[in-house]
């Protein structure tokens, strides 16, 4: 079934959701007139605003929309774009689409996994890096493609990865742990 980073980390401390997060969620619900057929747009909106979909927020959504938490959870885990864990500070997304695959995306992903010591779909323990994969973003002509914090980088090989990562390490000191 299509799902990527949707299993909540079991090692996570209890997720804390603020009043503000719930208010943001309510605001988004209102924009969509509490319409259940807008479920995916609502979930995407909440995820955009909060960075991920915390389980307590999902429960809150289920209550407001009068659907069972199970069916809501079913939707969230069905689509790959939803994530149940807080994002990392920097997101590296490796394209695993066909065009990138035949040009060596597997080695690119392996090298990211090795250097960050995490597997795709997860975040480093300090939440500095988040590693994701995507099946094509439409820039196939310049694959293998990696997206680093929304910026596209074409023709990536394992050799180019240390430089990409080094740039992202500069603000490590600012991380709140």
């Amino acid at each position: 079934m299509p799902s990527s980073s949707t299993a909540p980390d079991s090692m996570e401390p209890e997720v804390v959701v603020t009043e503000e997060d719930l208010a943001t969620t309510d605001e988004i619900l209102k924009q969509h007139q509490y319409d259940r057929s807008e479920m995916i747009a609502i979930l995407l909106g909440v995820q955009d605003a909060l960075g991920y979909l915390p389980v307590p927020v999902l429960k809150h959504l289920a209550e407001r929309l009068e659907v069972s938490p199970i069916s809501l959870f079913g939707i969230v885990t069905f689509y790959t774009s939803f994530r149940l864990n807080p994002p990392g500070r920097h997101k590296c997304t490796v394209c695993m689409g066909t065009a990138c695959h035949v040009r060596g995306a597997v080695n690119v992903l392996k090298e990211f996994e090795r250097r960050l010591d995490i597997s795709a779909g997860s975040t480093t323990p300090d939440r500095h890096f988040q590693l994701e994969t995507v099946n094509c973003v439409g820039a196939c002509a310049i694959g293998p493609l990696v997206i680093v914090d929304d910026e596209y980088h074409g023709n990536i090989t394992p050799i180019k990865i240390p430089r990409l990562l080094r740039r992202l390490e500069r603000d490590k000191a600012e991380d709140v742990t």
Partner: protein, 625 residues
């Protein structure tokens, strides 16, 4: 925009005034800001152009615009200069001032920015003479180059919405449907169903309201035709949908765009707003009795949602699981009402059919497949990008004349058509014309137009495994045959790739493949074995070599290959040992180096940097892969 356009004659007046405004003797600099070019720094180039044009006081002579994909993405970022018709490639921020000073003011060509034809070694001055473009027939894509997709005015200036006006002014629903039927247009999203027939069935339905949908889910990983159109020419899609809605009697439509295309989402939303403001969407379009509006809906990353019944479920806010057909969506679709779903490119063809006539459209293409088709030509081919050719064009023409062949002196091995559920065709079929019938006969499908070129360093077993894993992950899980079948096939392929396969694995794969295709409900499962079956049909020897000789001749399957430094060629320059991420390479400076196969993680970095090509991949009993 200046308010609503209230009638067909007002539209024509407005178009004429825009044309006049945009013509004249201005030089037009067109920068491609499509996906490939944007990823190669087009944004900064655009900023530089705007700044320098202003600073150099050229605003009165020069129009600068950013457009969607021009097609030849391999040259990214590309700049076209009109009316001269020059094309500059690989343009950097630092080149911008030079272009303005030397080409725009000085009238001189900058040779280092021209494309060099590898055949002749000569620079090519005009875009139209570049082989990549010369061998195409660009009808849909040609417009990308002409319009700034942020501006409705640009679209109107190329007679945009004239086909809609014609429909409102002089055609009945029946006329429109007849024209689409006569044109021979078949759906561009996969199955090639005749578009006119689909509309006719929808038109005959008595249930109300009716809906229309644009399928912009573009799930094929490795294809970006639809992204190219939506980002480059969003109003053409809207115009096509308006015409379709008028023909079947719908007042509401949806554009379902994948979440992974944020720019496409923004462009189509903006275009919908512009169209509404101009009276081209909404109540009483162009003063007629026809009302129609559009809503843009985002998918959330599930390949199966491109399947029409799953797409409808997703539109309704549910899990995108397919349901049994019949009833087909034309009878019972969105909220149980008649719903016409067409692909982006199908909708884009519609205004051209209406504007230029069914006869014109049906004069292009092959016997059973009419018009042009856009392909996304990617993988191991020199000229990657978006290609538009008449249906029935041969693979050879696309790969060699347009694509320039395989790079790095390697040889062509196969081409994959039809996306994950398509198939791979071998070199002997290179003269096959690409149309719906010919591809199906050869054991693959047209799909939506992804063409992935593979060379000698692509392992066909690995490719089959790649697609099978993709389908395993994307199967919605409803059918046992699809859910479990893709998993079992992938496990068998894993074994083979890891050197643990037996010849029995091949028989099992074939048997299982047939079952999966026959027993599954939707198009995903029904074609899920195509990658395996087509590679077994044409590349069985590669499977056998993996099994009996533990040999991956492409040098891809990590468990079966070894990186090896040829002593006699190694200069001991340390280049490889410097980049090796795991210190697998040892050797004194200026003496031969050696790779420890137990440490090597087969990342390929050393081969990339070795200046003397001393490093090779060996497989099987030690021969070069």
């Amino acid at each position: 925009m200046t308010g609503k356009i209230r009638s067909v004659s007002e539209l024509h007046e407005f178009q004429a005034s825009l044309k006049e405004e945009l013509q004249g003797d201005r030089t037009v600099i067109t920068l491609c800001a499509g996906p490939g070019c944007a990823a190669s720094g087009a944004d900064n180039v655009a900023k530089a152009f705007r700044k320098h044009i202003e600073e150099m006081g050229l605003t009165d002579q020069v129009t600068f615009k950013c457009t969607g994909c021009h097609g030849f993405c391999a040259l990214a970022p590309v700049v076209a200069i009109d009316p001269a018709g020059y094309c500059y490639e690989g343009v950097k921020q630092a080149d911008v001032k030079d272009i303005l000073e030397r080409t725009i003011i000085g009238g001189e060509v900058i040779e280092k920015l021209l494309y060099v034809d590898p055949e002749t070694g000569e620079p090519v001055l005009y875009e139209k003479d570049i082989p990549f473009y010369k061998h195409q027939d660009r009808i849909l894509l040609a417009e990308n180059r002409q319009i700034d997709p942020d501006r409705l005015e640009d679209f109107l200036a190329i007679d945009g919405y004239s086909a809609l006006a014609k429909v409102l002014d002089e055609m009945s629903s029946e006329d429109v449907i007849q024209a689409i039927l006569d044109s021979g247009l078949r759906g561009r999203g996969g199955a090639g169903f005749p578009t006119g027939l689909k509309w006719q069935i929808a038109h005959q339905q008595t249930a109300e309201p009716k809906y229309i949908v644009c399928n912009a889910d573009e799930g094929d990983p490795g294809a970006f035709m639809d992204r190219g159109i939506i980002e480059g020419n969003p109003h053409r899609v809207i115009e096509g949908m308006c015409i379709g809605a008028r023909a079947i009697g719908a007042n509401q439509g949806f554009v379902y765009v994948r979440y992974e295309y944020p720019i496409a989402v923004q462009r189509i939303n903006q275009a919908v707003d512009q169209a509404r403001e101009a009276g081209l969407l909404g109540e009483n379009i162009l003063g007629s009795d026809f009302s129609f509006d559009l809503k843009v809906v985002m998918g959330a990353g599930a390949f199966v949602c491109g399947e029409e019944t799953a797409l409808i479920a997703s539109l309704e806010g549910k899990k995108g699981e397919p349901v049994q057909r019949p009833p087909f969506p034309v009878e019972s679709g969105y909220r149980g009402k008649p719903t016409v779903i067409n692909n982006v490119e199908s909708w884009t063809c519609v205004p051209h059919v209406i504007g230029k006539g069914a006869e014109w459209f049906s004069s292009i293409g092959s016997e059973g497949s009419k018009g042009t088709k856009i392909f996304s030509l990617v993988g191991k081919v020199k000229n990657t990008g978006l290609v538009e050719v008449p249906m029935g064009t041969t693979i050879r023409k696309i790969v060699y004349d347009i694509g320039g062949g395989v790079p790095n002196g390697k040889s062509f091995k196969a081409i994959q058509t039809g996306g994950p559920a398509g198939g791979c065709l071998p070199e002997d079929l290179i003269d096959l014309p690409i149309d719906f019938e010919a591809l199906t006969k050869a054991g693959t499908i047209m799909g939506s137009g992804g063409l992935i070129v593979m060379d000698e360093s692509t392992c066909m077993v690995d490719v089959a495994r790649y697609f099978t894993r993709f389908l395993e992950e994307e199967s919605c899980g409803k059918c046992y045959s699809c859910r479990k079948g893709t998993q079992r096939m992938r496990e068998l392929l894993d074994d083979i790739c890891e050197g643990k396969g037996t010849l029995d694995h091949l028989d099992l794969l074939e048997e299982l493949g047939e079952t999966v295709n026959n027993a599954s409900m939707c198009g995903l499962g029904q074609n899920a074995a195509n990658p395996v079956l087509s590679t077994l049909r044409y590349f069985r020897h590669e499977y056998e070599a993996h099994i009996t000789e533990h040999r991956c001749s492409a040098g891809v399957c990590a468990a079966l290959i070894r990186y090896f430094i040829q002593e006699e060629l190694c200069d001991g320059c340390h280049a490889c040992s410097k980049v090796c991420p795991v210190e697998a390479i040892s050797g004194e400076k200026d003496l031969e180096h050696e790779i420890d196969p137990d440490v090597c993680i087969t990342c390929g970095s050393c081969i990339e940097v070795c200046p003397t090509d001393a490093i090779i991949i060996v497989s099987g009993s030690g021969e070069e892969a």
